[in-house]
């Protein structure tokens, strides 16, 4: 140590900004890739499916998986491998269409309730409560009977119309919270109009939870379609979807044809799981504070 270091230091530039926080990594690759494969496979199924999925070849009923029929055939002699990809289209379409309807309804009605003065708000909430009080299954059947013969888009509409209620409540509370937040007040002080506040402040803060809800709606709609079709309330067995494929499952139970139950169900489950993982990622994790316990 030398004495010449004991001299007043020359002023040095001060680094003001803290270093950027490294982005957190989610284990998202697997679900995204799986879902991508399933969606792509369903969309481009004409390119690779070996047989016409609607063709009923009565010579080959209930064939277990083998080289000709990788996933076996069902009780009407259709090739399950082809049906999976072809029917997935319908299932995914219903899922996305229904989610679009229900998310739209939830966002519009939820925001209305969140922005409305107390009196109309209670009215909206009451109405919501009454609709929610009918078991979902009954509601679906009711609306469907109004709409008439089951078709894919009809089912999507029905599922969309019955799936928005709880989402609307979430939207309402979020809108209320955001509306009272100080940065919205600040923007109003500066003269920001309704649409400015909506575009610059509400929507960006709102997007994660909307995405989450939309993804969860897709998930719920796909599951509901399969349940309905299985119970004979949805698509008839002639219209191929994962749900209608499973509607043959009950007879397959007694005949020990496991592939008829397992394979479509497995695809269904994988899709639902991937959607859940993606939805949770969009929602963001739990708060980063530490447990005090």
């Amino acid at each position: 140590m030398t004495a010449d270091k004991f001299v007043p230091a020359a002023p040095r530039p001060i680094c003001d900004a803290p270093p950027p926080v490294p982005p957190r990594r989610h284990g998202l690759f697997l679900p995204a890739a799986l879902l991508g494969i399933i969606v792509l496979g369903c969309l481009c199924c004409e390119l690779f499916i070996p047989r016409d999925p609607t063709y009923m070849d009565l010579r080959f009923c209930n064939v277990p998986p083998c080289r000709d029929f990788p996933f076996g055939t069902d009780s009407m002699g259709r090739d399950i491998f082809s049906m999976i990809w072809y029917g997935g289209r319908v299932s995914l379409l219903i899922g996305f269409a229904a989610a679009a309807v229900s998310t739209l309804a939830a966002v519009v009605l939820g925001s209305l309730a969140g922005l409305a003065p107390p009196q109309p708000e209670t009215l909206l909430l009451r109405a919501n409560e009454i609709v929610m009080s009918v078991p979902n299954l009954l509601l679906v059947v009711l609306i469907q009977s109004v709409l008439g013969k089951p078709r894919a888009m009809g089912i999507a509409l029905v599922l969309g119309l019955t799936g928005w209620m709880s989402m609307a409540r979430v939207v309402r509370t979020e809108v209320r919270q955001l509306r009272q937040s100080e940065f919205v007040l600040a923007s109003q002080c500066m003269g920001g109009g309704f649409f400015h506040v909506l575009r610059r402040h509400l929507a960006p803060n709102f997007l994660p939870s909307i995405t989450y809800m939309a993804v969860m709606n897709v998930r719920a709609a796909i599951a509901a379609e399969s349940t309905l079709s299985f119970m004979g309330l949805g698509l008839p067995p002639e219209v191929i979807s994962w749900g209608s494929m499973l509607s043959l499952a009950e007879s397959a139970l007694t005949g020990h044809q496991w592939w008829i139950i397992l394979i479509p169900g497995f695809f269904l489950l994988v899709t639902l799981l991937c959607l859940t993982a993606l939805g949770n990622a969009a929602h963001g994790g739990v708060s980063r504070r530490h447990s005090n316990l």
Partner: protein
């Protein structure tokens, strides 16, 4: 005292108005739907009827009147406790429901009880071991079980336990002629109950877990810890107590939800309960049955949500004193 009576009356009026609105909506929707109600009464025969016979039949069932007249007739009957007859079963709707209600209550009630007790226990386990393998395992399993559609899970269980292993019965509530035997009933209950519990348990566990995780991040946990309390005591006496109001009100709201969840399970397992009944009534347009089922479930939902409010008002001292829980003191700094 007077204040309370007034409040109660107000609630009662809101409740009745809600039921009225619900019944009106269901009435309109179901009658406007295309399809033939006579099929449920006369079966195949309805399709071969001549126009005269048809109108006679409709007149006999009161279906020829204008919609509002039909509704008023239904309403006045309902006020006297007469909900009409089921077109399909040709018996009084009320007694029909009464005969099936018990089965649904056994399945749904025991499922509800299991979920009600297991969810906090699992939630506490997860909170205690947050981030370690049991917590992660429960979360993963929960995510999977929450995704499986109920009917498919039922199919898998039936395929495994009753078709392949032949251990447990896969359909019905009891074997023919054994409706009084407890063991037989229990045996029939195992599989449907498993499905009901598995498909709902995760959701509630997750809720309890995330609430508890929020609680253990509060400062009062540190104070309790610096008193010298053990973590278990803090969890049970402080954290669990604090989430109880919201948990109880959530569970109260969920009663109809869990009961509704049994509908699908019932129909897969051909379990004679309200689920199969409501499904049939909607499908075959058994108007009176449908109306009563909807009104009943609506009433139960509304009752349960008032129950939920009452419960949380009673338990939470902040609500009991009439102070809003949050957003009141914020106005001034």
């Amino acid at each position: 005292m007077r204040h309370n009576a007034l409040l109660l009356t107000k609630k009662l009026i809101i409740f009745l108005a809600g039921l009225l609105a619900l019944s009106m909506a269901v009435f309109c929707v179901s009658r406007m739907a295309p399809g033939d109600a006579l099929i449920s009464y006369y079966g195949e025969r309805a399709e071969k009827m001549s126009p005269d016979e048809r109108s006679a039949a409709e007149a006999r069932l009161g279906l020829d009147r204008p919609l509002h007249v039909q509704y008023v007739r239904w309403l006045s009957g309902a006020a006297r406790g007469d909900f009409g007859i089921s077109f399909m079963y040709k018996t009084d709707v009320l007694s029909l429901i009464r005969s099936r209600l018990g089965n649904t209550l056994i399945l749904g009630g025991s499922g509800f009880a299991l979920i009600f007790f297991l969810a906090p226990l699992l939630g506490i386990l997860c909170t205690r071991l947050e981030g370690r393998w049991p917590d992660r395992l429960i979360c993963r399993l929960g995510a999977v079980s929450g995704c499986i559609p109920e009917f498919w899970l039922s199919l898998l269980l039936i395929a495994l336990f009753s078709v392949t292993l032949r251990l447990l019965p896969g359909s019905g509530a009891y074997c023919v002629g054994k409706s009084g035997e407890l063991a037989d009933r229990l045996e029939h209950l195992v599989l449907p109950l498993t499905v009901v519990v598995l498909s709902h348990l995760w959701y509630y566990t997750y809720l309890v877990r995330s609430r508890l995780l929020g609680e253990v991040r509060q400062d009062y946990v540190l104070l309790a810890k610096s008193k010298g309390l053990t973590p278990r005591r803090i969890l049970f006496r402080h954290c669990l107590r604090n989430i109880m109001p919201s948990y109880l009100s959530l569970m109260a709201i969920s009663i109809p939800h869990i009961l509704g969840g049994t509908y699908i399970v019932e129909s897969v397992f051909s379990y004679p309960g309200l689920g199969t009944l409501s499904y049939e009534s909607a499908r075959y347009k058994d108007y009176n049955l449908l109306m009563l089922l909807c009104v009943l479930s609506g009433a139960s939902v509304m009752l349960c949500s008032s129950l939920a409010q009452a419960v949380s008002r009673r338990i939470d001292p902040r609500m009991r004193d009439g102070t809003p829980v949050s957003g009141e003191a914020r106005n001034d700094g």
